[in-house]
């Protein structure tokens, strides 16, 4: 690596007041033609470019980002990483990602602050208990670590949870995946950008795609705010705006885009050292390294591309948080934001070819795409390079909406969608 980060480079740069660090990725003007173009410079798009260059030796490629890299949902999620999904196809997909996460800081030579602090999912009624126990068994058959905790074990693992039987939705138990946890979201985008840039990938920011040029069934290039760029392969990783790009190519997708909200509190001393998610009352909470509580709320129940979301959704989530964690009652919330998520009818993603040659889509991650970033990039790169899906993403093709072979993760994924 031409500019390796290490304790020695840190000490060396300390002597010059950290003013001589080199830019981690360039700011090139687009070339006239690329071997492949990735639309969307979020975590998934940058990871796709990184693996295309690294594993498939495609170096003459570009990532086009309409804003700045990592400024969309990569910078707007609650950074939760887990792989405790019910169905075999999902377990394979998400655990593939989790395995890459475990060594990603070393691989990228960039500290993504991956923290395996565990993710606990709570059960509040008898059906939750049955569903979560079933999922625990399914996870273990797929080689994914999962344990069932009773109410006392939940209290022991996270003492600030109110486990009184008198609350509206009492805690009847929960599941725990110890390998799960969180990572620093911005660092993931930046680490992949630096790695891809080093291998010759052009990362072009402030470059919005305005149209897709087709010649019959084959793509020929993209119209952008920086002019026309020729290419034979386009990988679309545009999250909430996937349908907008699809419409440019004359394609319809089974997606609906909705605002998903999150919020953070004022920073406080360490109080919760794990991630706790509750499906039934819709409240997720963890604590960032800065000390803020990171709280995930729900989606608005209508299509919208406004990156804000409704107040009543936040109110509902905070009610649930306060009942489960009375200790947080006097905390102030500092910031709230929304990201546009593209939701599939079966709550599973699409990593697929289309019936247009050279046009590939990686979308439909809905409310839970961050956790899959490295695996999604790896499998999408494989799909683009070989024009064939990898066996781990074969089930996540676009044709499943025609064949009926859906991967229904509604509820089964341990979280409300």
């Amino acid at each position: 690596m031409k500019n390796k980060y290490s304790i020695f480079s840190l000490i060396k740069n300390a002597f010059s007041q950290h003013e001589n660090w080199k830019q981690a990725w360039g700011d090139p003007e687009p070339k006239r033609e690329y071997e492949a173009i990735i639309i969307g410079g979020g975590g998934h798009g940058l990871a796709t470019a990184y693996y295309l260059a690294k594993k498939h030796n495609m170096r003459n490629i570009a990532v086009l980002e309409k804003g700045w890299i990592g400024g969309g949902n990569t910078g707007r999620n609650t950074t939760i990483i887990r792989s405790n999904y019910l169905w075999d196809a999902s377990a394979g997909l998400y655990d593939h990602a989790l395995k890459i996460w475990e060594n990603l800081s070393q691989e990228l030579n960039y500290n993504i602050m991956f923290s395996q602090r565990g993710v606990m999912n709570l059960a509040h009624n008898l059906q939750d208990v049955r569903d979560l126990k079933r999922r625990t068994h399914a996870n273990r058959l797929n080689g994914i670590d999962a344990v069932w905790l009773n109410t006392n074990q939940v209290k022991e693992f996270c003492p600030i949870i109110n486990t009184s039987p008198d609350i509206r939705y009492p805690v009847l138990g929960g599941t725990l995946q110890r390998r799960a946890g969180t990572a620093r979201h911005d660092a993931v985008a930046w680490g992949y950008a630096r790695g891809a840039d080093e291998m010759g990938v052009d990362i072009i920011q402030n470059c919005e795609v305005k149209g897709i040029k087709r010649n019959g069934d084959q793509v020929e290039g993209v119209e952008t705010s920086k002019g026309f760029i020729k290419t034979k392969k386009i990988g679309v990783v545009a999250a909430g705006h996937s349908s907008v790009i699809a419409n440019m190519a004359g394609l319809k997708l089974p997606l609906e885009s909705k605002p998903l909200q999150a919020l953070v509190s004022e920073p406080v001393k360490p109080i919760i050292d794990t991630v706790v998610m509750s499906n039934a009352v819709h409240a997720y909470v963890s604590q960032s390294d800065k000390g803020e509580l990171v709280i995930g709320a729900g989606t608005d129940a209508y299509i919208s591309y406004t990156q804000r979301g409704s107040h009543d959704v936040v109110e509902g989530t905070l009610k649930a948080i306060l009942e489960l964690y009375p200790i947080f009652s006097r905390m102030k919330m500092l910031r709230q934001w929304g990201g546009i998520v593209d939701i599939c009818p079966d709550a599973s993603p699409i990593i697929s070819k289309t019936n247009i040659k050279g046009l590939y889509f990686n979308c439909g991650w809905g409310t839970g795409g961050f956790k899959a970033t490295p695996g999604s990039g790896d499998l999408f790169a494989h799909t683009i390079a070989n024009d064939e899906p990898h066996k781990l993403n074969a089930a996540f093709n676009l044709n499943r909406f025609v064949s009926g072979d859906l991967v229904d993760e509604h509820g089964a994924a341990a979280v409300a969608h």
């Binding site: 319809k252 089974p254 609906e256 885009s257 129940a301 209508y302 919208s304 409704s310």
Partner: protein, 91 residues
């Protein structure tokens, strides 16, 4: 979050309503004649427009009647509300 002018009840908070998605998708007249592709198109494929979109809404916590709405999804601004069966307004 916004106010919706229900054609039966007048202006109410959006949280009283539920959104039924894209409007004017006609149920196939001969379901048995449909190919898998046509079923997929009817059941799953959506325009998901960023901009002016026609959609169905239900006043779930009010009169419980369905109606149509023209809304800009890029800023949540409502352009028109009209009853089921009425002709959609031309922009």
């Amino acid at each position: 979050m916004f106010l919706i002018n229900c054609p039966y009840c007048g202006e109410r908070d959006q949280s009283e309503f539920s959104c039924g998605g894209e409007a004017h998708i006609v149920r196939p007249k001969q379901p048995t004649e449909l190919s898998d592709n046509q079923w997929a198109e009817y059941l799953f494929m959506r325009k998901n427009i960023k901009g002016v979109q026609f959609e169905r809404w239900n006043h779930a916590h009010g009169c419980r009647k369905w109606f149509n709405m023209v809304r800009d999804t890029s800023n949540d601004k409502i352009h028109a509300v009209y009853k089921m069966g009425e002709k959609p307004p031309v922009e």
